[in-house]
Symmetry: C2
Subunit: 385 residues, 2 copies
């Protein structure tokens, strides 16, 4: 397999933009990536579009050629990839596969979601379809409920506390304050998070990520050609996608996601790095408990230790292992299909020293982890300069 | 790029099965392909799932890992591909790309759709999202209307007649009579087709394909390993996917689909065959006019000659160039996401001499053509023993 690099990244601000259609969002991010790479759209050999539920949120299917034509791509394959909340990661993984294996030299990956055209109730219903509808959504187990169960079990089994969860929220809100593209730029305290209204026991309002509109894009290029376009390509050292069963009740242990462990193991091995080599990471904090479990599944902390580490600020921007410098899904926002690609954007900017006020002083190796549903899809990537 | 082969095919009967869920359909076809290859599910390195609108038709997203777990796949990447009515073709094309480029040796491709859980009115609305919703569906231009416009223009510009269209329907119904997996096994006459109730001028009931439930699957394998599993692999000589603008009003000429011409040119070149080398083909006859245009865009007949050729029975099963021996979308049925994969199944069976009563006497090189929407996606494949 050939080495693959990201040569540019583009992103809309994440937020509530009900007046902007999904194609506008995708094209803003895509054009930013194309311009950033100093290329013309006609040089791109394919479009990999990550989108979870555009048809349900906006009524429009067949999004990929629609976006491709809007960007001026030249009749090349334009395809939508859907893997629930890991749709962006799945698009990125398949684009990487095609270049790594030698099918293309340069492609565009765009992730997009437009959620605010629907009501919150309808949005909850659409999102719930990422779980097993028959055994979960049909009995009212939407995602806050499922992750509430997961959090309760993690607290019972591994000693995680509500303060640990709140610490994740406080940190990600603090990071989002420094990201001009973040949706919710608002500092909170542990006390405020704990006192917020309950959503699904034991999760409160600040344990939950946002409902967002937005898009993110990267241009992927065979590393051997990357220097034609930039003197600072960001290499994909390793990337893997893995799957698991859809329903929570089919899992042996709901405090860990086997697909994340599997994808991480493959990505670490491909990258030839160990967890201790990771300098920073963008993790899928759809709920605060998901960040804690990701830290453990990625072997960045031992089981049961990610909660205390979060409270001890080890994952803060100035801590030992900065997590979600972008603000994460909690504060930057979570336009579902965009998230996996937006994580790659943040790692790209950090590794190139272009992260502005939130720039890390040490950023040599970064990791991304994108989760679909309650763990049935996972994509993990490891990147370096 | 490495040579890739199909080593087995599996398919459900197409029909109206509102009592069967989408996972059951996908797993029946997938298991048939796995069993046919004489492999275990754990040997498959990825699942490529073509599905157009499972979330809209059935309420369930995140279908790929759900189907993968149902089939017993071993935590490998399971991803859904959506490109409207070419979703199956897109899944097949990306699976081919990954093996051809050396990323995997053996993967499963499944196409599936479950449409009958929704009313016909709702189904029409869901399907219309494959066109430009804002400029087409919103003003009532659903697909029968769009293809009615296309047919009218083709008749005006190229002399195609309603008898030509009816001849396509009569032939595909006759072929479907011989296919035990076809949904509508009913012989019709030109007179009956012409006298049927109008759907969208100039199209009548028998010019339109069916609303169907069903699934199809193939196991793709690197050719160099194919002989471990079968002594009669079917080689993918060439395959390509291309894109075009979504809305009909954005096209220069609505009597031809540039994406089909582009994909065909690439597939012929890759296969190193000319249109005259094709012995038979499975074409995307979502409406009878679409088969006529496909014959012309694929350069199997000159522009304006496909209609007369159809009436002269040149495309009949015992004609010079048999088209849609399976019965096509018209008679076999059109479970949207399954169609592109089902076309590959028919070509596989014909090339291996396993097509039963409808077996062709000369079948050395076969072609498939899968169309998304009103031409914004096209996938063309060329196959041989």
């Amino acid at each position: 397999m050939r080495s693959v690099s990201i040569i540019s990244a583009g992103m809309t601000t994440f937020g509530s933009f009900p007046e902007r259609n999904i194609r506008h969002l995708a094209c803003e991010a895509g054009n930013a990536a194309i311009t950033g790479a100093g290329i013309s759209a006609q040089q791109l050999e394919a479009l990999y579009l990550g989108n979870f539920a555009g048809p349900s949120f906006t009524g429009q299917s067949h999004l990929a050629p629609w976006v491709g034509a809007g960007l001026g791509l030249d009749s090349v394959p334009c395809t939508r990839f859907e893997a629930a909340c890991a749709s962006g990661g799945a698009a990125l993984f398949h684009a990487w596969t095609a270049i790594a294996a030698g099918a293309y030299d340069m492609v565009l990956v765009v992730g997009v979601e437009s959620m605010t055209p629907q009501s919150t109730a309808k949005t909850t219903e659409i999102l719930s379809a990422a779980g097993d509808v028959t055994s979960e959504a049909a009995i009212g187990a939407t995602f806050p409920g499922l992750f509430g169960l997961i959090a309760s079990r993690h607290m019972h089994k591994l000693g995680t506390t509500r303060e640990h969860l709140a610490a994740v929220a406080v940190k990600n809100h603090a990071n989002g304050m420094l990201n001009p593209r973040a949706q919710l730029r608002k500092a909170i305290t542990i006390e405020k998070a704990l006192a917020a209204r309950p959503i699904a026991e034991p999760l409160t309002l600040y344990d939950c990520s946002l409902i967002s509109d937005g898009a993110a894009a990267v241009v992927l290029c065979a590393t051997k050609r990357a220097e034609e376009f930039t003197d600072r390509p960001v290499r994909v050292l390793g990337i893997a996608q893995a799957s698991d069963r859809l329903a929570l009740h089919e899992k042996d242990d709901i405090t860990t996601f086997p697909a994340v462990r599997q994808a991480a193991q493959q990505a670490y091995q491909m990258a030839d790095v160990a967890p201790r080599d990771i300098d920073f990471a963008e993790l899928h904090d759809c709920f605060t408990i998901a960040e804690i479990i990701a830290l453990e599944d990625l072997a960045l902390f031992a089981r049961g230790e990610a909660g205390p580490a979060s409270l001890e600020r080890k994952t803060a921007r100035n801590g030992k292992l900065p997590i979600n410098t972008s603000g994460g899904l909690k504060s930057k926002g979570h336009p579902v299909g965009a998230t996996g690609v937006a994580q790659a954007c943040e790692v790209f900017w950090q590794l190139r020293g272009e992260a502005g006020e939130r720039q890390l002083s040490r950023a040599a190796i970064g990791l991304t982890q994108n989760l679909g549903g309650s763990g049935a899809t996972a994509v993990v990537g490891v990147y370096s300069r």
